[in-house]
């Protein structure tokens, strides 16, 4: 019984901590399978995180007009999700415009978005919340299971207690993306654009259209990932919230061989290192004296390098990944 409970709490922690990584990782999967690299996931997460809080915050004014006072906790977090998605899509479009239409350098564009997100969100925090630290608390999905009825199930119910809307999305969306990429015509075209845009173009596939769709979806997923941290795990936004998870998501995507389900399991595997570290910290702190905490935190990145270096298994990105496509270009 006790053992089962521990297992359940482990799985539950992995899902909760893994949610932002899974969602952002899916953003990477969408983008890179169409041949566009997006290392701006981190920056877009920051956008999503802020605007989710912002949406939830300003909706409190709409809902509570009688008293005239603004009670941020009366806001509607769904508006927050909506705001995050809109901004994420716009950020994706910007990255797409530079890397697809202008055929600019995708890495530079993404780095610029990351730099801008840090300055820009500090700016907005100051503009709207008069602080550079973190926003006030807003209405959120924190600790609100999507299906409260399920939490009444004995033992297994514990798992559903922590599963808010974002965690459910993180569990379901990998399968949706998998179905889209591998079992639909559009998915076939999507992958063809990433593998061989010229051939796809010859067959009448709209290369630019699909690439734009892919970057927009990556913005959508990354923004959801950001929202899952600010109004999912917590009820406020802090500029240092993404803390490299956008890059872990990239690592998970590579570890998962650019596949949605692979990314899902890789993300869970990566969070395992973190969950174990937290577990050890509370249950057996003396172990951290032998294996330092920093090692657990660095482990996902070390693993990624080992995998990429071919010690564990070869991975190949989509062939046209990161290469701008120009119509009529010679091969």
């Amino acid at each position: 019984m006790e053992f089962l409970k521990t297992i359940i709490s482990f799985i539950s922690s992995m899902l909760v901590f893994g949610t932002p990584i899974i969602l952002a990782g899916l953003g990477g999967v969408m983008c890179e399978n169409a041949g566009v690299v997006n290392i701006a996931l981190e920056g877009i997460m920051r956008f999503g995180g802020f605007f989710a809080v912002f949406g939830s915050y300003i909706s409190s004014r709409v809902i509570d007009p009688i008293t005239g006072t603004r009670n941020p906790l009366a806001g509607n977090p769904w508006i927050g999700i909506l705001f995050a998605i809109i901004v994420g899509v716009l950020a994706g479009l910007l990255h797409g415009y530079i890397s697809i239409s202008l055929r600019g350098n995708q890495i530079v564009s993404a780095v610029a978005i990351n730099v801008f997100s840090l300055g820009g969100m500090t700016f907005f925090l100051e503009r709207y919340f008069n602080t550079t630290g973190h926003s006030p608390s807003v209405a959120s999905f924190m600790g609100k299971p999507l299906f409260p009825a399920l939490t009444k199930i004995p033992i297994l119910g514990d798992l559903f207690k922590t599963m808010n809307i974002f965690v459910w999305l993180a569990v379901i969306l990998p399968f949706v993306v998998h179905f889209y990429l591998y079992h639909t015509h559009w998915g076939l075209r999507h992958r063809a654009v990433g593998e061989h845009p010229k051939a796809a173009d010859t067959l009448g596939v709209n290369v630019y259209g699909i690439r734009y769709f892919a970057v927009i979806m990556s913005g959508f997923f990354a923004a959801l990932a950001g929202a899952s941290m600010s109004i999912g795990q917590l009820d406020l936004f802090d500029n240092h919230m993404p803390a490299g998870l956008g890059f872990i998501a990239l690592a998970a995507m590579i570890f998962g061989k650019w596949k949605p389900l692979g990314t899902f399991f890789a993300a869970l595997f990566f969070t395992l290192a973190n969950v174990i570290q937290i577990y050890i910290q509370t249950e057996a702190p003396q172990i951290l004296k032998i294996i330092p905490r920093g090692f657990f935190l660095a482990l996902p990145y070390i693993l990624t390098i080992l995998i990429l270096a071919g010690f564990v298994g070869r991975v190949t990105p989509p062939a046209a990944d990161g290469i701008p496509y120009e119509k009529g270009e010679k091969l």
Partner: protein
């Protein structure tokens, strides 16, 4: 006879058309920066503050209130110091870029350099003229290896350097900040009553002292200038520089010409890592005096902007770094009227976005010329 009919505008257009290829490499960054300032100005306006007043404060905060203060470097010194540190990471990205490599790992190399400098700055107590160069040499070697590792994996295993360098950034951050600084090299081991987080202070002999009283500006600026000159000579005047450039321009052609691509890439990433490492070392030896608990000033990532806005040339990188260094210095003063210093990040981010999409700016620049040149030709052909 015909030429007399050309108006001065048409003459300008003809001159423009002859020179626009060369000039655009200089104009694109300048226009990007101007656009960035305009967009940031609009954002200030949106917050209900006056952009002109803000820029006035920025300007004075960067250079000084009057000529006297500007000359004394009491105000500008801070910006120049930031610029010097940015120059080093900017050069790091520039060197790698010349060999066709994207060094996103300057941040990690910076951190490795910083912790190495903090350690040897604490351990070594030699006369400054021997000790400091020795520390910089050790730092160059350690950070250089950290940088070269990414190139090694690319050459031997075909792993893209962008991914490896990003991963190496986070490995450096976590191992240094969550292990070394809190564990084996923590100040508490040497001074149990310390209240600060981080490593112990470096010896007085290891410190880069301020050049003038009342400013923090130190020898980092000379280190940066020397680096700019050395890298300029390396790239433009040496065989290795030629090989680096050839590899960056066309890897297959370079291989065919008998250049050892692997060696060239590893060496250029070693140099890139060394430069970022020295940048981090200068931060420790000059301003910080030790590795603080959390130390992520972001100079590694900023270096990417410096290299790009500087058109990936050593001198351009230096100019861009000084400019953004001064902007960063001045932005601190803007907090007085309630504009956060992260404002500098906004300008930098927007400028980078426009440099990234530079084909757009180039297209517009060239189009202006194209339309007019047609008229210019008409004038000539119309007479003959």
């Amino acid at each position: 006879m015909n030429n007399l009919k050309l108006s001065s505008i048409d003459r300008f257009i003809n001159w423009w058309n002859a020179k626009k290829e060369d000039l655009s490499s200089f104009l694109v960054p300048v226009i990007s920066v101007i656009i960035a300032f305009i967009i940031a100005g609009i954002m200030i306006k949106l917050t209900g503050k006056s952009p002109l007043r803000a820029y006035e404060i920025l300007f004075k905060g960067a250079l000084g209130k009057d000529f006297q203060e500007f000359i004394s470097l009491r105000v500008a010194g801070e910006g120049i110091l930031k610029g010097a540190i940015l120059t080093l990471t900017g050069l790091s990205i520039t060197v790698a870029f010349k060999a066709g490599l994207f060094n996103i790992g300057a941040e990690g190399q910076f951190i490795i350099g910083a912790i190495t400098a903090a350690y040897f700055g604490f351990k070594l107590n030699l006369p400054p003229f021997i000790g400091i160069p020795l520390i910089l040499l050790i730092v160059s070697f350690v950070s250089g290896l950290y940088g070269a590792f990414a190139a090694f994996l690319k050459v031997k295993r075909g792993v893209h350097e962008v991914i490896t360098t990003i991963m190496l950034n986070w490995i450096a951050i976590h191992l240094v900040e969550n292990w070394i600084v809190v564990g084996p090299f923590n100040i508490l081991r040497y001074n149990p009553r310390a209240v600060l987080a981080g490593t112990p202070y470096i010896t007085d002999n290891s410190r880069l002292k301020p050049l003038f009283s009342g400013t923090r500006l130190n020898a980092t600026i000379f280190i940066a200038i020397i680096a700019v000159i050395l890298i300029y000579i390396l790239i433009n005047k040496t065989v290795l520089g030629y090989e680096i450039q050839a590899t960056g321009l066309n890897i297959e052609a370079a291989r065919y010409a008998g250049i050892n691509i692997s060696r060239t890439m590893i060496i250029s990433m070693f140099i890139a890592g060394a430069l970022s490492g020295i940048s981090g070392a200068c931060m420790i030896l000059g301003t910080e005096g030790r590795y603080p608990g959390v130390f992520r000033p972001g100079y590694g990532f900023d270096g990417i902007t410096m290299a790009l806005v500087g058109n990936t040339t050593p001198v351009g990188t230096f100019i861009a770094s000084l400019f953004f260094g001064l902007v960063r210095g001045g932005a601190t003063g803007m907090q007085l009227i309630g504009i956060h210093k992260s404002f500098a990040d906004i300008i930098q981010g927007v400028a980078t976005i426009f440099v990234a999409g530079q084909i757009g700016i180039k297209y517009l620049l060239f189009k202006i010329g194209e339309k007019k040149v047609f008229r210019g030709k008409e004038v000539i052909s119309g007479v003959s």
